[in-house]
């Protein structure tokens, strides 16, 4: 099987600390993958390498067969590779609708149109509204995004991440800091979007309930390396995984 994204022997050091140590990984289209591991395992660094926020010290990355190892972030987005952030990252002073218009206009190549009103971009506006409908924030479209509740900001961020219509979308701890009600809304949304939008999601998550209810495939990282990968049932039984990670988590 050929992967949507293949990472070959990626290494990233910060000084003496090796955050990602020779990780090779294949992400298959349509298979919701979860990356788990203790703090400092290198999960977020791996996402940063895959999405271009950081460049690897060595190793290579291919997306749909094309080398993207040192491609600029905005070019990766155009190719269909996007992400959300662990720390909330939205356009706080723009309205909720404008938050989605930014990626939609960029994808349509209309982000630099200087002399006509945004309202005249009717196709982009209706596309942005469609996403707002999907994430359930249509009623809030004129509210400044910074005034939304934490949970709604998470939903909005998810909306911004899927607005470029990516084929592959990384979600860095999508459920962190949410109430149980908000969390189930976010999970429901991820499940629905991965069906409706033909987007393959890769989530980094600490919450094991989330991981085992959502993922088709689990990658376990520890100390910058891939410890194991496989379907949830197999990972649950894996002795090494239980020792470094799940053991403490399950007994807690």
């Amino acid at each position: 099987m050929t992967g949507l994204l293949t990472i070959e022997a990626a290494v990233k050091r910060f000084g003496d600390f090796v955050a990602v140590n020779g990780v090779s990984l294949t992400i298959l289209a349509g298979r919701l993958t979860a990356i788990i591991g203790p703090n400092g395992a290198g999960k977020t660094t791996l996402i940063n390498l895959a999405t271009g926020a950081l460049f690897p010290d060595s190793g290579a990355m291919r997306f749909k067969g094309e080398a993207i190892t040192r491609l600029a972030v905005h070019r990766r987005i155009r190719k269909g590779l996007s992400r959300s952030f662990q720390i909330m990252n939205i356009f706080a002073r723009l309205s909720v609708l404008q938050n989605l218009l930014v990626p939609v206009l960029a994808r349509r190549g209309r982000a630099g149109i200087p002399f006509h009103a945004i309202e005249q971009e009717t196709e982009a506006v209706s596309e942005a509204r469609q996403i707002l409908r999907e994430i359930g924030l249509l009623d809030e479209e004129n509210v400044p995004a910074g005034t939304l509740s934490h949970g709604d900001q998470r939903l909005l961020e998810l909306g911004i991440a899927v607005a470029p219509a990516p084929e592959l979308c990384f979600l860095d701890e999508p459920s962190s800091g949410l109430t149980p009600v908000e969390r189930s809304r976010v999970l429901e949304l991820i499940r629905r979007l991965s069906g409706e939008r033909h987007t393959t999601f890769v989530i980094v998550e600490h919450d094991m309930d989330v991981v085992f209810s959502l993922a088709d495939w689990i990658v376990v990282m520890n100390r910058g390396e891939v410890l194991a990968e496989g379907p949830p049932a197999e990972i649950r039984e894996n002795r090494a995984v239980r020792e470094v990670y799940l053991g403490e988590e399950l007994s807690a």
Binding site: H74, N89, F91, A111, A117, I118, P144, A161
Partner: protein, 315 residues
């Protein structure tokens, strides 16, 4: 920003524009001269605020592009007495200068960007000071004509009187302000504001951030150039102090006075700047000290600028 221009604002704007067009009939030479200065600073400041308020970049070097516009216009007018050519040439030169220095400046943000622009601005200042053969050194350029608006073989309109020149400045300023008003409400304006709110998020929304910072920087340079180009025909001279960093501080102060987050903030601020200055200089030659005190008091009293009273803000 969400929301539309309320109709009360529209009426106010129409009345204000009308009053500006009638001004030379009802007021003497000095108010007309002062209004020209206000309009020039308003153009200078809205360009600056596209960078500062909309894109989140604080430039301390805008006087450099103001000076390129002024010296460019002056040199052209001394060679070819045609006001169209002088102003267009000054603006174009400032745009080119901003594009070139922008390529180096927009690689950085925050204080590093501000320091770089300050350095580039002072570089232009020292060129104005030292390149005697071209700029006239500390004597500056003198005898710059208030040349006619001329399209060879088609028309030639004399604007030699202050009142006539006032209309040139008024029409160009209003056009520049109107163009900026459209720009900030366009997809480009939204993209710039997105970069201001979160550079990383914008990048990950598919926006080539550095390219759009350069666009904003160049547009701000064009506006500084236009403001600069309008000055020599008014004063008939250009001297190096217009390139000094203290000139760069004028749009910063005007924008802080009027308000960063309102489109009209820098324009209102330009008005306040000259009115406050005009009143203080009647009492003391150390006007800048008192001006500073007033600016500090106003900024502390209205942290979002004077215009923030009229803008609905969250929280």
């Amino acid at each position: 920003m969400p929301g539309r221009l309320p109709s009360r604002t529209a009426i106010l704007v129409v009345l204000l524009v009308l009053a500006l067009f009638l001004l030379p009939w009802v007021a003497g030479k000095y108010p007309v001269y002062l209004t020209i200065q206000i309009l020039i600073l308003a153009v200078f400041s809205i360009g600056f605020n596209l960078l500062f308020g909309y894109t989140g970049l604080l430039s301390f070097g805008q006087a450099g592009f103001f000076a390129v516009g002024a010296y460019g216009c002056a040199k052209i007018l001394l060679a070819v007495p045609n006001l169209f050519l002088g102003i267009a040439g000054g603006v174009a030169l400032a745009g080119v200068a901003a594009l070139l220095l922008g390529m180096l400046s927009v690689r950085h943000t925050r204080i590093y960007f501000s320091m770089l622009t300050l350095a580039f601005g002072m570089m232009i200042y020292s060129i104005a000071w030292k390149w005697r053969d071209f700029t006239g050194g500390d004597d500056g350029l003198v005898g710059i004509p208030r040349a006619p608006l001329e399209i060879p073989g088609l028309m030639s309109l004399s604007v030699a009187t202050m009142e006539r020149y006032y209309y040139v400045v008024l029409v160009l300023s209003l056009a520049a302000i109107a163009a900026m008003h459209r720009l900030v409400r366009s997809p480009l304006g939204l993209t710039l504001q997105a970069i201001r709110d979160s550079e990383t998020r914008a990048e990950f929304a598919g926006v080539p951030v550095r390219k759009y910072r350069l666009v904003a920087f160049t547009v701000a340079g064009l506006y500084a150039g236009l403001a600069g180009a309008l000055l020599p025909p008014l004063e008939n001279t250009v001297t190096p102090p217009i390139a000094h960093w203290s000139t760069s501080a004028e749009p910063v102060l005007a924008t802080l006075l009027g308000g960063v987050h309102a489109f009209s903030g820098p324009i209102v601020g330009a008005f306040l700047f000259f009115i406050i200055k005009d009143i203080i200089v009647r009492f003391t030659e150390y006007w800048l000290i008192w001006f500073g005190v007033i600016v500090v008091a106003l900024v502390m009293g209205f942290p979002g600028g004077v215009m923030s009273i009229f803008v609905k803000r969250p929280k």
